[in-house]
Symmetry: C2
Subunit: 496 residues, 2 copies
């Protein structure tokens, strides 16, 4: 199979070296995947799993295929992929990718380097170091340390492991078998990664205690105090509080000042899961939502969510210098040799739970460097501006829509009430009926490919399925886009 050996130093014609890379760039530009997708395109060309299998021959054979065929495979993959860059994609806590960030991502992929030593990643180790310093400064901390992790869930795990280690350094060596059960507290709106982490780290999900929230979804400091006291009464040992800055569904910001006061009083590590809401730190207008962040012990933040620096881009930061290293190092002598001829202070990979570590810092750095802080701030503000417009518009549309709560982050949660249900007695049956509205409209939007918005219930607050709209920085959402969302939901669901 002469087409597939790739390394024939060709000139870029069919099958020659570089041909397929050019083809990908052409495809990305032709489909405007990152350079401004047209709102008139479909967000998704939906096929059920069994149908999609007919469009793409997934079988791996003994022999390969031609470069032409490879090109077609890539086109099919793009065609049937959800266009997260589409101005009408609001389905998750991320959207499209910024072009400059993508450039950084493509380059690091091509360089295929590993973030563990200066020896193999000189540029990227300096960059990671600098980005972390910069973020520590943005948080108003006088010093700190950090590491890029493959996603917010693992960043949150870093926080838990560090909190545990700080309290009982011997755990690293001997484990937690003879400890009293260690308990972490998070709000009942906190992300499930806290409870998954509790399971992995050997604490058990029962020891990730859910603390009650107010109507907005913010942790109640008084409820936290009670929960801590209760755990102590049960013979357990509280060690950490996870505050959430921007909850997944409601977008609530836990009150950091008050939680810090509780944690200081109780001697607990305060971690902030700012995976979603952390980008407010870039905005003079919205950073008050994280007031008190100067008093916390650690924080997780995902630039891959609101900011648009492509998955994966998540950073864990702690105010305690050297703790990451002490907690996680294993000093492998094949990798972190101390007899190197250069300053091994940048061989920081041993702070990580990973060994090989993808370069995630560079795309964020180049994105910040090229755009400058003022543009990032403007983008965060634009995401908030659009969400505030949406909120106003939901209210303006009277009995057709109903807001779940006043938004804090860029999440706007609301029900759509179809014509047949308006002005009726809101009996338990009425609510059961309403719970089916969002899934039905969702099916229609996906089948038609015009819009994607997530929906969710919140059992603990007895809220049935509602729409969760979220706006992110990329592409920049406008008030007109917001109006479209509501118009489209009305169009799709009016007859229900």
């Amino acid at each position: 199979n002469g087409h597939s050996n790739g390394y024939s130093n060709g000139t870029g014609e069919d099958g020659g070296a570089g041909w397929l890379l050019r083809r990908v760039l052409d495809l990305v530009l032709k489909t405007k995947l990152v350079t401004g997708l047209d709102a008139s395109e479909k967000v998704v060309h939906f096929k059920h799993p069994h149908e999609l299998k007919d469009e793409l021959d997934l079988e791996v054979g003994e022999e390969g295929c031609s470069m032409e065929e490879a090109g077609r495979i890539l086109e099919t993959a793009v065609h049937y992929s959800v266009k997260t860059q589409h101005p009408h994609f609001y389905n998750q806590l991320y959207g499209g990718i910024d072009e400059v960030a993508l450039t950084g991502a493509w380059l690091t992929e091509a360089l295929n380097t590993n973030s563990y030593t200066f020896e193999v990643a000189p540029v990227f180790m300096l960059v990671e170091h600098r980005v972390i310093e910069h973020l520590v400064g943005l948080l108003g901390w006088s010093e700190g340390d950090g590491i890029f992790a493959p996603g917010g869930s693992i960043s949150n795990m870093y926080g838990m492991v560090l909190a545990r280690y700080r309290r009982h350094p011997n755990i690293k060596k001997t484990g937690i078998f003879d400890q009293k059960p260690l308990v972490v507290f998070t709000s009942d709106q906190g992300h499930y990664s806290i409870s998954k982490s509790a399971s992995w780290l050997g604490l058990g999900m029962d020891n990730a205690v859910a603390v009650a929230t107010d109507a907005q979804g913010r942790m109640l400091p008084a409820a936290l105090k009670e929960a801590v006291a209760k755990a102590r009464e049960e013979g357990k040992e509280p060690f950490m509080v996870n505050a959430t800055a921007g909850t997944t569904v409601l977008g609530a910001f836990d009150p950091l000042e008050e939680l810090a006061a509780v944690c200081e009083g109780e001697g607990l590590w305060l971690h902030v899961d700012a995976c979603w809401g952390g980008s407010v730190i870039l905005s003079r207008r919205y950073k008050h939502l994280m007031k008190g962040v100067d008093r916390v012990d650690s924080i997780s933040w995902n630039p891959h969510k609101m900011l648009g620096t492509s998955l994966q881009c998540s950073v864990f930061l702690t105010k305690h210098k050297d703790l990451l290293k002490k907690c996680n190092s294993a000093r492998a002598t094949y990798l972190f040799q101390q007899d190197k001829f250069y300053d091994v202070g940048y061989d920081t990979g041993d702070k990580s739970i990973q060994c090989g570590r993808k370069v995630d810092a560079f795309k964020l750095w180049v994105f910040m460097k090229v755009h400058g802080q003022s543009l990032l701030e403007a983008r965060v503000d634009a995401a908030f501006h659009a969400s505030r417009h949406l909120c106003t518009e939901v209210k303006r549309r009277g009995d057709r829509f109903r807001l779940v709560q006043e938004p804090e982050c860029t999440n706007v949660c609301f029900w759509f009430i179809p014509a047949s249900m308006r002005g009726k007695d809101e009996t338990p049956e009425w609510w059961v009926q309403l719970s089916k509205v969002a899934p039905s409209i969702k099916e229609r939007m996906v089948q038609q490919g015009t819009l994607m918005v997530g929906y969710s219930p919140i059992a603990v607050k007895k809220l049935v399925n509602f729409f969760r709209m979220v706006t992110t920085c990329t592409p920049t959402p406008t008030p007109a886009h917001m109006d479209f969302v509501l118009d489209e939901i009305e169009r799709l669901g009016e007859d229900l």
Copy 2:
């Protein structure tokens, strides 16, 4: 700053949409980063950290920079990055990236999708599912399940968490506080991720017991049996054995058949860390090295190492269907709604410890699909062929080089003995002197940029610093490349 807003639907001129992406492609092609780097180029243009800082202004400012400047930044980043694609880069257990795999990686970056639900990643969820089925077949298992993880360390953690859960499912809920200390066994040549994982998972590093190996670095089944008995005597509970298929330094393959027999007898989960050596499964000639893999419970394999499918690409596989889901699921109702209109069997993200998960399966799939199994096999065989040539050549060069042991994987470990040290009494002082040779030569090779090879001691085997040469599939290593390595080491070190 008019240059940096990016989304102006331009035509690709300076600063217009797409301009920077074209620039990256041009840079990648011009430097032949993935299309066949010239051996006459430098592997690295070394600068010390403080010098490198002068070449790259790391400061993030209030205002951004022009696209021209952005282009220069990217060029500088490439210039000072280590060329892992260089035919003389043998510094780690990975090398360059295959062009087809890179194409897949670039496309998934541009699509910015998340491997958790079919809803947002229809193509990629099918692909991941199919790749896992395919790999389960290659292992000769009748059924199985798996997941792509951000690297082999985390893949190995999956194995430990699953092994623990299978034994004590209640741990998920209540933790390990009232367990007897749980013990995992790995060889004294096993990767440090087992001990880091033991720390994170609450077992403690002391409960990752190192089992003695033979001269080749293979775990001794008799020593394992003794270690298990000893742990039981100490009142601990053995639960898992980690066998290594291709150890990090020596490239040893633990004897899976014999270890499986021990584990079956003792009722222990057998995991195989095949992160490095797992690619032998693709070769009819070398897969015997993993004989017995049909009897194990789980395996980790990193296509990003020997195979050249760019970091990160690591897969965890287990023979126990449904266990990943039972062990890890949290059933978040905002993401894994059960009232969706399509078959949610492909919403497999809840098997993961992550929430957002980068699409790592697609680049591997497209790489396998386009090249076909026969080419992958030929590449693995070529990597082995080169390493066997190197081994012969080390021996042929008489008293100038000395082999540490006969290689099993593509690792070839050897000492270079400079002229001044040849034919001398091998006193303790002689060995101390020899321990400084590899670091000195390493400094010279990096300073001159002609070659990069790792070195390592092995304290437990009383082996002082030796060179660890490794060959991978990309770019294809040749016997001539191997001769160059030894010639160059002689040139750099003869006067020591």
